[in-house]
């Protein structure tokens, strides 16, 4: 297996060595899949979107000028592909794209999750899966992919302030649920 940096792979693929695109897929497929699963809440849709995203990346790679980081450009494509799938499935996009405001309530589902969770880790992870798309997305991009708020704002097409608000509201919502179940007492 070739040992190339991301930049070298990009140059090589643009030059015409299409086979090297496989290295880029291996580099990003898991992270993109995690993001898509959180957005689409369905493994099959996530797989389909993953393939579509990489095809789009391959076909438009020559348009990547390198002004921004490749990861930001890549996630933007992944995000837009997921949005297309959501709208093509005729889901209520307004509902899907809503975000946590000051009040986030799961109702009875929360009690169910709480009773099934073995510990606070499991509980919080389950709640993250149920967060509205944009909130879950910000959390994944920030915590798993290590994107800065500036990069996240580029991916989502919102201002940095809005990206920050989304992240803070997501944390606040999770904190309120942790407090509700007194999980914080676990911490010494």
């Amino acid at each position: 297996m070739k040992n190339l940096t991301e930049e070298e792979i990009l140059k090589s693929v643009i030059k015409g060595n299409h086979g090297d695109f496989a290295l880029l897929i291996d580099m990003y497929k898991d992270r993109a899949f995690t993001l898509l699963k959180k957005m689409l809440k369905n493994e099959m849709d996530a797989e389909e979107a993953l393939q579509d995203s990489f095809m789009k990346v391959f076909n438009s790679l020559s348009n990547f000028k390198g002004d921004a980081k490749f990861s930001t450009w890549f996630y933007k494509i992944v995000y837009n592909t997921a949005l297309t799938i959501i709208s093509s499935k005729k889901r209520k996009i307004v509902m899907e794209m809503s975000s946590v405001d000051d009040h986030f309530d799961l109702g009875d589902e929360d009690n169910k999750i709480y009773s099934l969770a073995e510990n606070h880790n499991e509980y919080i992870m389950e709640i993250v899966d149920r967060l509205p798309v944009r909130n879950a997305l910000v959390i994944i991009l920030f915590y798993i992919d290590g994107l800065s708020l500036n990069e996240i704002s580029n991916v989502l097409g919102v201002s940095i302030v809005n990206a920050k608000v989304l992240l803070h509201r997501s944390r606040n919502a999770l904190r309120k649920l942790v407090l509700k179940h007194n999980y914080q007492e676990v911490l010494l």
Partner: protein, 172 residues
């Protein structure tokens, strides 16, 4: 710091508070148990989120995508190839026709003019009528130049085909 807001707790997590602000916050936490719980819960959320795990894409993902890419590259090249083939064939046949008319030997005297001789004269005539200050010799030069251009284009098409085959091999 009069009141510890959500924003301050988020700043604490993101290391955006100054050391004096952190000290002030700790003083407030000591006096207020509710605030202590709130801060603990906030830190707990941050700690758990830092442990979020990447989910693995299905194993055959790379192969499936590369297969799709190969197909799309092939289709693209096929379309391009067909277009180039049509253009080249058209250009070559045009040149052949013009070349044949211009270079074919005239028949002997007494023999009636062949169709090609007639066409040749007509062609030369039309050039003199319409264009022009183009002499017969100049016409020959132009035709030769065109032939060379077509041959060079043919060479490039061949080279491109070779590089496409190499690209294909790199994918497969």
């Amino acid at each position: 710091m009069k009141e510890v807001t959500d924003e301050i707790l988020n700043k604490l997590i993101d290391n955006e508070l100054s050391s004096s602000e952190i000290d002030e916050l700790h003083q407030l936490i000591k006096k207020d148990e509710k605030l202590l719980s709130k801060t603990k819960a906030h830190q707990m959320v941050d700690n758990v989120l830092k442990k979020l795990e990447i989910e693995h894409a299905p194993q055959n993902t790379t192969d499936l995508i590369m297969e799709k890419i190969t197909q799309s590259v092939l289709e693209k090249e096929k379309k391009n190839g067909l277009f180039k083939f049509i253009i080249s064939t058209f250009a070559v046949s045009m040149l052949l026709v013009v070349g044949f008319i211009l270079f074919s030997k005239p028949d002997g005297e007494g023999v009636s003019k062949s169709f090609f001789n007639a066409a040749k004269e007509k062609l030369a005539e039309s050039f003199t009528n319409f264009s022009l200050p183009i002499s017969y010799d100049l016409l020959l030069i132009i035709t030769s130049a065109l032939t060379i251009i077509v041959l060079i284009s043919g060479y490039f098409i061949f080279e491109e085909h070779k590089s496409f085959k190499q690209k294909l091999d790199s994918i497969l």
